[in-house]
């Protein structure tokens, strides 16, 4: 491997390097290039293929087009309540305030959202949102957004490095020196020399077996930041989307959009009961319909009627489904029924949910306009992530930024549907700005030392150079089994401790894995490399989940049911300790700004005046 060592490594110079080309990464790169910075985007897949394309339902923004009572304060309040008040207050504020402008900006860059009767951007209902708020394009909103950003970005001063995987944030004497990466096609290493790095790598759902996430979701950014000295926040809050496909086995976990419920779909158990009426939490009781009759009126557009319970927040619905299945009222393949067929004419379903129609027709041979779907929870999203400053998006490591799903704090204990696509726009934009501000007046990049680079390269190529060792694909399957067994939707001390031990044992296997073949476009080798971030991700979730002895939002402990008062003000923070082990500590939250606190606890009537 002499050829690959640092002396003759390829070097590419940028002011800012963005890692990840989903919505957050592309938005950050556009924002950084608008400030005149030479910006590079490094991404594992081809441009336009990142996981954002999978986002279906829509992008939440209080445009007030569909219901004029909506405004940023109601959006902020919904977000805080959905996040069980563990959100970083200022992030939730910035998000709600900037989202409408960001959506309109996308439209100017060519996005074509579905329209209202008046020709404005139409908005749909979604769980936890008081008003129809999600700008959308049928059920392919993510595709529309990523394509719009992509087609805008290619005409900016941004260079995209496709099929390139970041391995290490290179620091010399405490200062950021660049990013070491390798080209997936050739296996060659490349050093991106830069003063600022923006992580936008998404989550780590691939540590679980049942997940809506694609292969790319191996927690790369979490590990890069953690190794560079940044902190991870709220990692115990992993969102299980209530509706993933459950049959056939090969598609188990693939997302079924919440838009099905937003457009009138209902959940039924094997007894035909609309069971969500039995699971309405006290906090939402006053805003949720308690009879089918009222839920029907809401669907017909009666503004006095309250929302159907199928549109409660995702954590509530996912737990309810799990309970129904556990108590023997599940569907034949271990889910529950999601019925839109009996609720909407076939023509409307095909028009509003075209990709759901095709997905079920082609993968499960189910016609959703004629029969119900079978659905169950699937690991979908990380609320937790890299800790960042609320306004600049900078991590604790100077020059290192994070945005989108890989960053933590915005969503607290549970994310509302639709708040992810708006999150990645708002915080992508802010991260680009943050990086540009940081670089103002900063001079000189420290030279990456041969020692640092050689060490990282040796580590990366070890699976190829070994004589023999465990199969990386099978080690990955072992990890997925551990996480699905012990760190699933309902957790307890015993299961978490067992999982942590199993992860520790698996580390020894990962250190020995063998990838056969050469370094050229070798998926076995890529898999071996991704096991490292996957383990950091899995361990940080398990350890944080063990510490939080309560049930809040997406984190459910069978041995500690219900929200605990003293945990309301505590955060779980992960960092790498000096001896290399993972340190977990608790930290008190800061007092919220009083103005924001007032809004979050206001009645809806107080906010509906449209105070903009």
């Amino acid at each position: 491997m002499g050829l690959n060592l640092s002396s003759d490594i390829q070097r590419i110079r940028h002011d800012v390097v963005v890692i990840g080309a989903g919505g957050a990464g592309l938005r950050a790169a556009i924002s950084s290039s608008e400030r005149g910075l030479n910006t590079g985007v490094v991404c594992k897949s081809l441009l336009g293929k990142a996981h954002t394309v999978m986002a279906e339902g829509g992008c939440a923004a209080a445009l007030g087009n569909t219901d004029p009572r909506d405004n940023w304060k109601v959006h902020f309040r919904d977000t805080m309540r959905g996040g069980k008040f563990l959100n970083q207050w200022q992030m939730a504020e910035l998000h709600a305030k900037h989202a409408p402008d960001e959506v309109r900006l996308l439209e100017k860059w060519g996005a074509v959202f579905d329209r209202t009767k008046d020709g404005l951007i139409g908005q749909r209902n979604f769980g936890g949102h008081r008003y129809p708020r999600l700008a959308h394009v049928g059920d392919r909103t993510g595709l529309e957004m990523i394509r719009t950003l992509q087609d805008h970005l290619i005409h900016q001063k941004v260079q995209v490095h496709m099929e390139c995987t970041a391995l290490r944030i290179v620091k010399e004497k405490g200062k950021l020196a660049g990013v070491l990466a390798y080209w997936r096609e050739t296996g060659r290493f490349v050093l991106f020399e830069c003063n600022a790095v923006i992580l936008a790598t998404g989550g780590g759902g691939k540590a679980w077996r049942i997940t809506s996430n694609s292969w790319e979701y191996t927690g790369d950014g979490l590990e890069l930041a953690y190794e560079a000295g940044a902190e991870l926040l709220n990692m115990e809050f992993t969102q299980f989307h209530p509706t993933g496909m459950v049959w056939p086995p090969s598609v188990r976990g693939i997302l079924v959009t919440e838009g099905v419920r937003g457009d009138g779909g209902i959940l039924l158990n094997s007894e035909g009961e609309r069971f969500m009426f039995n699971y309405i939490p006290e906090r939402f009781a006053s805003e949720t319909a308690d009879t089918e009759e009222e839920a029907e009126r809401w669907l017909d557009g009666d503004k006095e009627a309250r929302r159907p319970p199928e549109l409660l927040t995702r954590d509530v619905v996912a737990r309810a489904i799990t309970k129904e299945v556990q108590e023997g009222r599940g569907s034949p393949h271990g889910g529950v029924f999601l019925d839109i067929a009996s609720r909407r004419p076939a023509e409307v379903i095909r028009k509003k949910l075209p990709s759901m129609y095709h997905q079920f027709k082609e993968l499960a041979e189910v016609d959703i306009t004629a029969e119900p779907m079978e659905v169950g929870p699937t690991l979908h999203y990380f609320m937790g992530g890299i800790r960042v400053d609320s306004t600049t998006q900078m991590t604790g490591v100077p020059g290192l930024f994070a945005c989108g799903e890989c960053s933590g704090g915005m969503h607290g204990a549970n994310r509302l549907g639709g708040n992810s696509l708006s999150d990645l726009l708002v915080f992508g934009m802010l991260a680009g700005e943050g990086a540009a501000d940081y670089l103002d007046g900063l001079e000189g990049v420290p030279e990456a030392s041969a020692e640092t680079l050689d060490g990282a390269i040796r580590e990366a190529t070890a699976p190829l150079n070994r004589e023999d060792g465990p199969n990386p694909y099978l080690v990955h399957e072992d990890l997925q089994a551990i996480m699905n067994d012990g760190v699933n939707i309902v957790r307890d001390k015993e299961g978490l401790e067992k999982s942590i031990q199993a992860i520790e044992d698996l580390k020894l296997q990962v250190a020995l894995v063998k990838a056969h073949g050469s370094s050229q476009y070798n998926p076995g080798w890529h898999e071996a490399i991704s096991l490292v971030p996957l383990l950091v991700t899995a361990e940080s979730v398990a350890r944080s989940a063990l510490v939080r002895e309560e049930s809040r939002g997406a984190h459910t402990r069978a041995d500690f049911p219900g929200e605990q008062e003293d945990w309301q003000t505590r955060l779980v923070v992960i960092s790498k300790s000096e001896d290399g082990s993972m340190a977990v500590r608790q930290e008190s939250t800061q007092e919220p700004p009083s103005e924001l606190s007032k809004i979050a606890h206001s009645s809806l009537e107080d906010l509906e005046g449209g105070v903009k």
Partner: protein, 257 residues
């Protein structure tokens, strides 16, 4: 579960061959699942591109028993259980390795297309466009860039005229801009001259393979051809155009890459 047989192309730009593999396939499995089983059990280094595994990202386009398809949306049950399924990369593009083709040409073509330029709106206001006016543009925007249409297009695949014709994918991109109600740019001259709308001979092969069922030929390419014909080849329209046309849109050149 039953044992199924595959012939999978292995190799790189310097050449390669079909190799035989056999893996157990269960209910509901798609071709991509089978390829992953081959990776896990027999050939860890088998190169394949994929992402979403739900037909939404367009990464896993390849030729399965000679037909361009997405491997993630092609069910094993579509094939005779006794037959061997033959899998190879898209033929029109250069090979990177195994099932992975070099599709970078498509990205370069996209950069040549002058981007959307909307009508002015006042600050804080969105565009006003009605659903019936954006329906057809939305159809084109369903494209997931799998490039199966480019793979099957005779002009690119058999005649190798990639210098003269951008192919169906980019034609629908152009149609999506040209028919956008708020766009202010006139791309008809470059659609004819630089992007080669005249070269398509309407065999509809692209439409047949589109996994998003976009009416590529009928809804995008033919209307663009008609606009070109109206502009350049209809003598009456041409004269009237010279005399009366009020240019609403500004003519642009194709961009240099």
């Amino acid at each position: 579960m039953s044992l199924r047989n595959f012939k999978i192309w292995r190799g790189d730009a310097d050449g390669g061959e079909f190799k035989d593999y056999a893996v157990e396939c269960g209910e509901g499995m798609v071709v991509l699942d089978a390829i992953h089983r081959v990776q896990t059990e027999h050939a860890g280094g088998l190169a394949v591109r994929w992402n979403c595994k739900a037909g939404k990202c367009g990464s896993c386009g390849m030729e399965i028993d000679g037909k361009p398809k997405l491997a993630c949306m092609t069910r094993m049950s579509d094939y005779d259980p006794e037959a061997t399924v033959k899998i190879q990369p898209m033929k029109t593009f250069p090979i990177v390795r195994d099932l992975v083709a070099d599709v970078s040409w498509n990205y370069e073509q996209n950069k040549r297309i002058p981007p959307f330029q909307p009508t002015e709106t006042s600050k804080g206001e969105g565009l006003v466009m009605h659903q019936e006016d954006v329906d057809r543009v939305q159809e084109f925007r369903k494209c997931i860039e799998c490039f199966l249409c480019q793979d099957v297009c005779h002009v690119l695949r058999d005649h190798e005229k990639e210098e003269d014709f951008v192919g169906p994918r980019l034609m629908i991109r152009l149609a999506g801009l040209e028919m956008h109600p708020a766009d202010t740019v006139d791309r008809i001259p470059i659609i004819r001259k630089d992007f080669g709308s005249g070269l398509c001979n309407i065999t509809r092969c692209c439409t047949d393979v589109c996994p998003e069922h976009i009416g590529i030929t009928d809804n995008a390419i033919i209307p663009l051809k008609e606009r070109v014909v109206d502009r350049y080849y209809d003598p009456i329209a041409w004269v009237l155009g010279k005399v009366f046309r009020r240019r609403k849109k500004k003519i642009v050149k194709a961009l240099e890459v």
